[in-house]
């Protein structure tokens, strides 16, 4: 019996579910191994008997909250894909503004017709079994996850920060140019794609550990000449830092 797979999107650009379609070279292999029963980006048929549900997007409206609860009830395994679903993502930027401001900014005169809530990751509402973070999620990681599920092998996210992959690629470090890159505190697995192309890591795969974040707090105050506010802004971009202050 092929596992039944479904793919859903909540508040997001749906880039992560599109990333699945972009796995062109492997798509046929995947389709041979699983049965996709529910995927708005790719098909019209719907079926609610789901083994593994992949969900991108944050919970940012009352409707999202209902939908994710329904998906959870219907799925044996729930996988959050992308920064929005895993961390709240860029949607969480609104959590630091007044509700009337961001609603007016997005919906203008229609603001009153669209109820929204604080943006949250899926795990704030329902039990999430696995997370595939990143903005967008890393396609290769999705493939690896599917293989692990098919083999019955434990899936683990990389447990080292972006710096490891950055150094393995032999990149110059952006700190040498005085750029505050979030690589040391961010979970790797993206092949350090941003520093490789000269941009600082913005933490889209989330914080790797509380210990690392605590070190960032110490370094901002004692080691660098950096502003806590700027770093907080950076950490908040993807909601990698969601509640409270830097330790």
């Amino acid at each position: 019996m092929k596992p039944k797979i479904a793919i859903f999107s909540l508040t997001s650009c749906e880039g992560c579910s599109l990333a699945i379609l972009e796995l062109e070279d492997h798509l046929l292999d995947i389709l041979g191994a699983v049965e996709i029963v529910n995927f708005r980006e790719g098909m019209t048929d719907r079926d609610w008997d789901i083994d593994i549900a992949f969900v991108d997007g944050a919970v940012s409206t009352p409707q999202d909250a209902k939908e994710i609860q329904h998906i959870r009830e219907k799925s044996r395994v729930l996988v959050a894909i992308g920064a929005c679903a895993c961390l709240g993502g860029v949607n969480t930027l609104k959590n630091y503004q007044s509700e009337s401001d961001y609603r007016r900014c997005v919906y203008g005169d229609m603001a009153n017709y669209f109820p929204t809530t604080r943006a949250k990751p899926l795990s704030a509402i329902v039990k999430v079994d696995y997370e595939l973070p990143g903005c967008p999620m890393v396609k290769e990681e999705f493939l690896e996850f599917v293989k692990c599920m098919l083999m019955g092998k434990v899936f683990r996210l990389p447990d080292s920060p972006v710096c490891v992959e950055c150094k393995k690629r032999g990149n110059p470090c952006l700190y040498d140019q005085g750029i505050f890159c979030l690589g040391p505190v961010t979970r790797g697995g993206c092949s350090a794609i941003c520093p490789t192309f000269g941009s600082k890591c913005e933490g889209c795969r989330g914080l790797i550990s509380r210990e690392g974040l605590a070190a960032a707090g110490v370094n901002i105050r004692e080691t660098y000449n950096a502003s806590v506010k700027d770093v907080m802004d950076d950490l908040r971009l993807y909601g990698a830092y969601q509640e409270g202050d830097l330790p």
């Binding site: 292999d29 490891v164 150094k167 550990s209 960032a216 370094n219």
Partner: protein
């Protein structure tokens, strides 16, 4: 004792002669810093470069490599060993990096022969170039005896006098291997040193001795006992408050040799590869085992572990110091954790 006197142009002839059978790796300037890279054009080669951001280890022990391929077909399991033999000629390897390679040689051949490393190493040709002075402020290679390479190279160049530019250099040359010697004989390259050249070499060694500052308060031989007394120092905790456990120090270190092993399978789940990739003792999960139990769950215990490895344990085990004093760890550390400061603070505490 010098074996030849040789010009920059003659060095290039040797390299050009190696090029048909070897990939050539040397220093390349990018964005104001040097990196060891594969050279396709020798015309810009500058052997008076300061230092390369990373050592040459990635060419002998790649960040990720396949150990063997496996497949399962008709109920049979098969595997094929994957041994990469890419002859590589390194040109412009500084003493610290030569000493780091000597350590890797030792580690990968002692007790268990690591065919993957050794197959690359055996067909590597190393042209070293000596440092007349420290490459940058902060290195402690003189303290760690890393700035003098006695073996581990095929040819070693000594910049006896400063030319007017990289292309104008004349070097004293020492053979480190038979095949190194053969290379020069083959093209009858280089001049036989005269008495004046030998004197210049002695003079060079004296100048060099004086040109390297010593930064450690403790002599190399005394570092192990210093550490023995410092196991319970409060310094580890105090310094590790800043540590991200990012592993940059490990990744940048030319003597780090730890790796992790994992499997990659294709979508049919019947074929795959067993691979290894660099690992590092500063990473949080490095010492985690089944259970899960982590032998070093705190950054402080990991920092202490790294320093003990570099200045004591590796030497205890392999007889060769685990650190060559190149300070790449210190420069790579985004938290500015500095090993010289650590050693010196420990020395002061006691």
């Amino acid at each position: 004792m010098l074996d030849r006197i040789i010009t920059h142009a003659e060095v290039l002839r040797i390299v050009a002669d190696l090029a048909p059978e070897h990939r050539i790796v040397g220093p390349v300037l990018r964005g104001g810093q040097y990196f060891y890279e594969i050279l396709t054009d020798l015309s810009g080669l500058d052997l008076t470069f300061s230092y390369c951001v990373y050592g040459p280890r990635a060419f002998l022990f790649p960040p990720t490599e396949t150990l063997f391929q496996f497949s399962r077909q008709n109920g049979r399991f098969e595997s094929t060993l994957s041994i990469e033999r890419v002859p590589t000629a390194f040109v412009g390897v500084h003493p610290c990096d030569i000493n780091a390679i000597r350590l890797l040689d030792r580690v990968f051949s002692k007790d268990h022969r690591d065919e993957h490393y050794l197959s690359r190493r055996e067909c590597a040709f190393i042209i070293g170039v000596d440092c007349a002075k420290e490459c940058t402020v902060g290195v402690f290679c003189a303290d760690m005896h890393g700035n003098v390479a006695k073996d581990g190279f095929d040819l070693m160049l000594f910049p006896l006098e400063q030319g007017s530019g990289p292309n104008d250099m004349r070097y004293g040359l020492v053979f480190g291997s038979k095949r190194g010697e053969v290379r020069l004989q083959k093209g009858s390259i280089g001049a036989i040193p005269k008495a004046a050249d030998e004197r210049a070499m002695e003079e060079y060694q004296r100048r060099k001795e004086a040109a390297f500052p010593h930064r450690l308060k403790t002599r190399l031989e005394e570092l192990p006992s210093l550490l023995n007394r410092s196991y319970d120092s409060l310094l580890w905790e105090a310094t590790a408050r800043r540590c991200y456990s990012c592993g940059s120090c490990n990744m940048a270190c030319p003597t780090c040799y730890c790796f992790n092993i994992f499997d990659e399978t294709d979508m049919t789940l019947t074929r795959g590869e067993r691979k290894r990739e660099w690992d590092g003792c500063q990473l949080e999960k490095f010492a985690e085992v089944a259970g899960p139990h982590n032998f070093r769950p705190k950054a402080a215990s990991r920092l202490r572990h790294r320093i003990f490895r570099k200045a004591k344990w590796v030497k205890d085990q392999s007889g060769i110091a685990g650190c060559v004093g190149c300070a790449r760890c210190d420069r790579a550390c985004t938290a500015k954790i500095n090993s010289v400061e650590i050693y010196n603070q420990l020395a002061e505490e006691i």
